[in-house]
């Protein structure tokens, strides 16, 4: 009887651990979905300055198309810029959710000829 319960507890523990493990493994991002979502976020919050063609304007609103900082292998600098702002650009960490921020970052890293890895909500959290 005691062994039976011990085995059951072990199985349960294993299942719980598997569950915990799975909860920390993000599903691979669907880049197409993220780009589509990110385009909407971009049009709402970013295009006023950076423009729909990603070309920016003057020296005030930096160009995103072909901008090497946008497409760095490690997206941390551009994540920090969006989250905390820079110069006259406002901070978006309280304005956008993690999902929205990841989507818009994925969008600008994969639009206007840019090509870079997607950004996950976990990376911006």
């Amino acid at each position: 009887m005691s062994r039976k319960y011990t085995c059951l507890a072990a199985v349960l523990m294993g299942l719980i651990l598997m569950g915990c493990s799975n909860s920390h493994t993000e599903r691979p991002p669907n880049v197409q979905e993220m780009v589509s979502h990110g385009q909407g976020v971009y049009l709402e919050f970013c295009a006023e300055c950076h423009q729909t063609d990603g070309q920016g304007w003057s020296t005030l609103y930096p160009r995103l198309a072909g901008n090497p900082i946008v497409t760095l292998h490690d997206p941390e600098p551009i994540i920090l810029t969006v989250a905390y702002g820079q110069g006259s650009m406002m901070a978006f960490r309280e304005r956008l959710s993690s999902d929205e921020m990841a989507a818009v970052l994925t969008y600008i890293r994969n639009s206007w000829g840019n090509q870079a890895s997607p950004v996950t909500p976990r990376q911006v959290h």
Binding site: L43, E44, A47, E48, W57, Q86, S88
Partner: protein
């Protein structure tokens, strides 16, 4: 005893004469037109002018210098002969930023102190001469702008959060009171002005987002409103809502009538004049194309409105753009000007806005005396768009037309116009919400296709006297300093133009861009440059000794805005 009675009779008679006389004079003062032009900052008409404003004509005590909103510097030593000697005197960092950068709106100056605000709502007092900061009141709340302080009766009044006005002690910056405009609807408050022991304030058609303090444009059931607040408590004396009760049949969708700029105030009559913003959705959303959720003229949007100072009662209105589809606000501060019409002096009300037409109105009735379209106009008179997925480019666009304040001096109106078209569609490409519809037209507006111009108009007739064109967009308003006009393009190129013909007398590339306009006192111009790497308030002065960069070489003009 008889001797004692006579003095009492004489005294009673004298008192009677005095009372009747005072009543007569007071009644006359309240109805008589201004005697010496409307650019008033002194006490007249039985209404009180705050000590920070009265007699401070040589400084800049109100958002647009005076209650008539003329934007004319008085007593300045800057003119065409010495403007090239302007140098940077001091700079102050604008640390708080929001959607439109670090600084919009106007500093005010009184008793040698500059009061200004960044778009984090942080408020500063600095010495005009040196820029030394006297106090800072930190809020770190993102606000929308145009922003800036109003001063009077020992206090500085500011928008301290999207949904809140605050009064600060003018000497220390300590907060004295707060007044909430509501965390639901409406919100987005703008630069106050102080008159006759009251604070004029206003709101925009927006929501702070269901209890959160976030700016969301055009939420259903939100309306701009004029507010009059008690300067000692912040308690409202009266409130006048721009949008009619019922929100034109669909309160869940419709909104509008934001009040973006301070009113003009006739300090003798006790009447305030407001210009109101557009109705929403612009132009429509899924299921409601072309503004069909809001049938009719959509009163009182895109109107010039006269309100009684003491009661807030609507005295008259004139709606210049009924049922607007294209975000063509009539939002600029109205100006009061005394001009000669048919041989006699007459005070008129001058208004304009994003619709790109300047109007002269009769002060007593609001009747249109003249109207003059300026700048680029393209498809803006359409009353509906095809209900399909096609795009129609409309000018003035979402940020086009007379976006920023005008000026008036010596019979001439000066207006800066942005020629900047925006893309529209009957349902804003099946937008789900009015805010999404707005964002789609604004987000699709391309600066590279934009230009700007200043037009000088005869204030009596509206006739265009001259025009100066810029090769890029500009949101720097117009400010008159003696024989010069000052403005700036968005990228921070500051221009001094000759008032006589619009020719460039001087230009200077500031270290940042600007979507704001300056205050002027004596030999100093204080101007927010809130865009770029280092948003700053910058004072340029004839006594300055800081570096000032060489004007940018002649630029290649950009292309005329495209049609689609």
């Amino acid at each position: 005893m008889g001797l004692n009675r006579f003095p009492i009779i004489y005294l009673a008679a004298a008192l009677f004469v005095l009372v009747v006389g005072v009543a007569f004079v007071r009644a006359y003062q309240q109805t008589a037109p201004p005697a010496s032009g409307p650019a008033v900052t002194s006490s007249t008409g039985g209404f009180d002018i705050p000590p920070e404003v009265a007699g401070h004509e040589n400084e800049w005590p109100l958002a647009n210098h005076d209650y008539a909103n003329t934007r004319v510097a008085v007593g300045s030593s800057i003119n065409a002969s010495n403007v090239a000697n302007l140098k940077v005197a001091w700079t102050a960092s604008l640390k708080g930023t929001a959607e439109w950068g670090g600084g919009t709106g106007n500093p005010v100056i009184s008793d040698g102190v500059v009061y200004f605000q960044d778009l984090g709502a942080n408020t500063y007092a600095a010495e005009l001469e040196t820029g030394k900061i006297i106090w800072v009141k930190k809020y770190e709340n993102q606000i929308f702008g145009p922003s800036g302080p109003g001063i009077g009766y020992g206090k500085v009044y500011v928008v301290s959060r999207l949904d809140r006005y605050s009064a600060l002690d003018i000497k220390t910056g300590e907060e004295v009171w707060q007044h909430s405009t509501g965390t639901e609807l409406p919100t987005g408050a703008f630069q106050p002005s102080v008159f006759d022991h009251q604070v004029y304030a206003s709101t925009q058609a927006a929501s702070s987002g269901k209890g959160q303090v976030k700016f969301h444009s055009y939420q259903g059931r939100s309306s701009g409103a004029a507010l009059l607040l008690d300067p000692n408590t912040g308690k409202p004396t009266w409130q006048w809502q721009v949008v009619e009760e019922g929100f034109w049949g669909h309160p869940d969708i419709n909104s509008g009538g934001g009040l973006w700029f301070p009113p003009a105030i006739d300090t003798q009559r006790g009447v305030s004049y407001w210009s109101t913003g557009n109705p929403s959705p612009v132009p429509g959303i899924k299921g409601y194309p072309n503004g069909s959720s809001r049938p009719g003229p959509n009163l009182y949007t895109n109107s010039i409105v006269a309100l009684d100072h003491r009661t807030g009662k609507l005295l008259w209105y004139n709606q210049v753009k009924p049922h607007d589809l294209f975000n063509l606000d009539f939002q600029d501060s109205p100006m009061l000007a005394t001009v000669k019409i048919d041989g006699s002096d007459r005070t008129i009300v001058i208004g304009s806005g994003k619709l790109g037409t300047v109007y002269g109105f009769d002060q007593d009735t609001g009747k249109t005396l003249w109207s003059t379209p300026i700048g680029l106009h393209q498809n803006d008179e359409l009353t509906e768009l095809p209900v399909d997925q096609s795009t129609t480019w409309v000018a003035p666009g979402a940020w086009g037309g007379v976006e920023t304040p005008m000026a008036y001096a010596d019979g001439t109106v000066y207006a800066l116009t942005a020629n900047l078209p925006s893309p529209y569609n009957a349902t804003a490409f099946d937008a789900d919400t009015p805010e999404q519809a707005l964002n789609r037209s604004e987000g699709g507006t391309l600066y590279k296709n934009g230009t700007a111009e200043i037009d000088a108009l005869d204030a009596a007739t509206g006739k265009v006297l001259w025009r100066h064109e810029f090769d890029r967009v500009a949101f720097g308003g117009v400010t008159v300093v003696n024989d010069l006009l000052f403005t700036a393009t968005l990228d921070g190129m500051v221009y001094a133009l000759a008032r006589q013909d619009g020719s460039v007398v001087w230009q200077w590339q500031a270290p940042g861009g600007t979507n704001a306009w300056p205050a002027v006192a004596g030999d100093t111009i204080v101007w927010p440059f809130g865009l770029g790497d280092s948003p700053s308030m910058i004072a340029i002065s004839l006594k300055g000794n800081g570096s000032i960069s060489t004007p940018e070489p002649l630029r290649t003009p950009v292309l005329t805005p495209q049609g689609g």
